[in-house]
C-alpha cells in the first residue's frame, strides 16, 4: 500500500470498469471534481485511488434517439443550460441547471453525472430530472444496467462513485403542451435552496389533466408527489386548488431537514410554498385569465 493516493486515467469504459473491479475498495471516481475536491482539501475524504473518467469520450455528448434525450454523464452544467436539444426538449432541466450555485466557475466544470451521484438533497438537477421521470444508465464489470432515477434514490447498493460508473442520463422529450416550473427558495443568489420544487403539468383546455411535483432540499430524500394531487385533476387552477397543492406537498414531508438552510418546521411549510410558486410559474405560460384568483 502506497502512502500517497494513486491516480489512474483509463482510456475507455472497458478499461475503467476492469480497473474499478480490480480495486476492491477505496477507489473514488473523479470527473469535474466540484463535489469531492472540497472533501479532499479538508481531509474528510481520503481515497486510496482516484479514477479519473474525464478522458472517456463515450461519456460525452447529447444525442436524441426516437424522442429520448441521452445526456452523457460528463456534460457540464453550462452545456445542460445551453445545448439546443436540451433547451428545446427539456426546458425544465435547462432552467434548473441555471439555478445551480457556485457561479460560472462551477457550471463550467461540474457534470450532470457527478451531480446525480452526489445525491445531495439540496442540489437542483435531481428535482427536475425526477419530475421528468428520468432513467439513468450504470456500468460496472457486471454489465450495463438501466434504472429509474427514483429507484436509484432508494438503492444504496449501486456502487456509484466507487465501483460503478453513471454513463448516461435518459429523459423522454417533454410533451409539446407540457407546462413546467421550478422554484428555489433561497437566501442569497448563490445559496443552496431551503425548499426546491419542480413541477410538470398537462392541461386539457383550462383544466389540469396531470400534475407531478418533486420537492427537494426539505428532506434527506427528494419527494415525488403525484397521486396526492389527484384531487386537482379536472379542475381549473384557482386559489383553492393552489392551497390544496400546497397542503398536499406539506403533508408529503415526513422528516424535514434542520440545517443552515433553516429549521425543519419552517422547511416543511416552505415545501408547500415552493410547490405552489412552481405551479404558478408553470401556469403563467397560459393566459392570465385561466388563473382565477
Amino acid at each position: 500500500m502506497s502512502l500517497h493516493p494513486m491516480y489512474a486515467r483509463p482510456r475507455d469504459l472497458e478499461q475503467a470498469t476492469q480497473l474499478l473491479a480490480s480495486l476492491s475498495s477505496g477507489a473514488v471516481i473523479i470527473a469535474g471534481g466540484q463535489e469531492i475536491m472540497p472533501f479532499i482539501n479538508y481531509g474528510v475524504m481520503m481515497p486510496d485511488v482516484y479514477v479519473d473518467i474525464g478522458g472517456i469520450s463515450a461519456l460525452r455528448g447529447v444525442n436524441v434517439e426516437s424522442d429520448e434525450v441521452s445526456i452523457g454523464a460528463l456534460t457540464v452544467h453550462r452545456d445542460v443550460q445551453s445545448t439546443a436539444e436540451i433547451l428545446e426538449r427539456l426546458p425544465l432541466l435547462a432552467y434548473a441547471a441555471q439555478q445551480i450555485g457556485g457561479g460560472w466557475q462551477v457550471h463550467n466544470r461540474g457534470t450532470i453525472g457527478g451531480n446525480i451521484v452526489a445525491m445531495h438533497p439540496l442540489y437542483d438537477i435531481a428535482p427536475a430530472l425526477l419530475a421528468l421521470d428520468t432513467d439513468v444508465e450504470l456500468l460496472s464489470d457486471k454489465g450495463l444496467q438501466r434504472l429509474s432515477l427514483s429507484q436509484l434514490q432508494n438503492d444504496s447498493s449501486h456502487g456509484l462513485g466507487s465501483s460503478s460508473i453513471l454513463t448516461r442520463v435518459l429523459v423522454d422529450t417533454m410533451l409539446p403542451n407540457a407546462l413546467w416550473g421550478y422554484y428555489k427558495l433561497k437566501n442569497t443568489a448563490g445559496a443552496y435552496g431551503s425548499a426546491n420544487a419542480a413541477v410538470v403539468i398537462q392541461m386539457d383546455g383550462e383544466k389540469i389533466a396531470s400534475i407531478r411535483i418533486v420537492i427537494g432540499a426539505v428532506s434527506e430524500k427528494l419527494v415525488i408527489i403525484s397521486e396526492a394531487l389527484d384531487g386537482c385533476l379536472g379542475c381549473a387552477y384557482t386559489l383553492e386548488v393552489g392551497q390544496a397543492i400546497e397542503k398536499a406537498c406539506v403533508e408529503a414531508i415526513d422528516e424535514p431537514l434542520s440545517d443552515q438552510q433553516g429549521d425543519g418546521v419552517w422547511r416543511k411549510a416552505m415545501a408547500g410554498v415552493a410547490a405552489r410558486r412552481a405551479t404558478e410559474m408553470a401556469l403563467s405560460n397560459l393566459t392570465n385569465s385561466s388563473i382565477k384568483r
Binding site: 491516480y7 489512474a8 486515467r9 457561479g103 460560472w104 466557475q105
Partner: protein, 169 residues
Amino acid sequence: MEDLLDTSALIQLRVDGELHELDVLAGRTLLDVLRDDIGKKGTHLGCKTGHCGACTVMIDGKVAKSCITMAATLARATITTIEGLLDEKGGLHPIQQSFWDEAGLQCGYCAPGIVLSALELVTENHHPSSEDIELALAGSLCRCTGYQSIKRSVAEACVRMYPADENIN
C-alpha cells in the same frame, strides 16, 4: 490494471503563454500547482471549498475555481491567470483599468477571480445587461465593495473594449 496506477500524473499546462510540463501528485489542486510550482501568486487561496471564487482562473478559456480542480485531471490545458492579462509592456488589460478607474476593488483579494469572470462574460457578450453581469459574477464573493462598483467597472470595460459596437445599436 496495475500499470495504470501511479502516485502522480504527467500534465502539460500552457500557463499565461508559457509551456510547463509537470509531474503532479494525485489529489493536488491546480491552485497549489499554480502558486507553489509555477509562482503565479496572483491566484489567491480563499476557502478551499469552492464558495469564494478568489482562486478563479481560466481553463481553456472558461473560468474555473482552481482550488477545487485536481491538477492531475488536466492532461493538457491552457490556463490564464490574472498575471496573463497584462500586455507586452506590462500595461493593464482594459478590464483591469476599468476596475482601477471605477473603484471595482478595495482590498483586492477577490479581484483576480472577478476580473477573469468578467473577461469570460464580455468575450461572449459585448453588451451584457445588469442581470447578465450579476449571473456571470455570482461565483465570487467580495467583502469590501458591496458589488455595485464591480458591476459599474464591468459595464465600463465593455464600453471601452467594444466602442464600435455602440454605433450598431
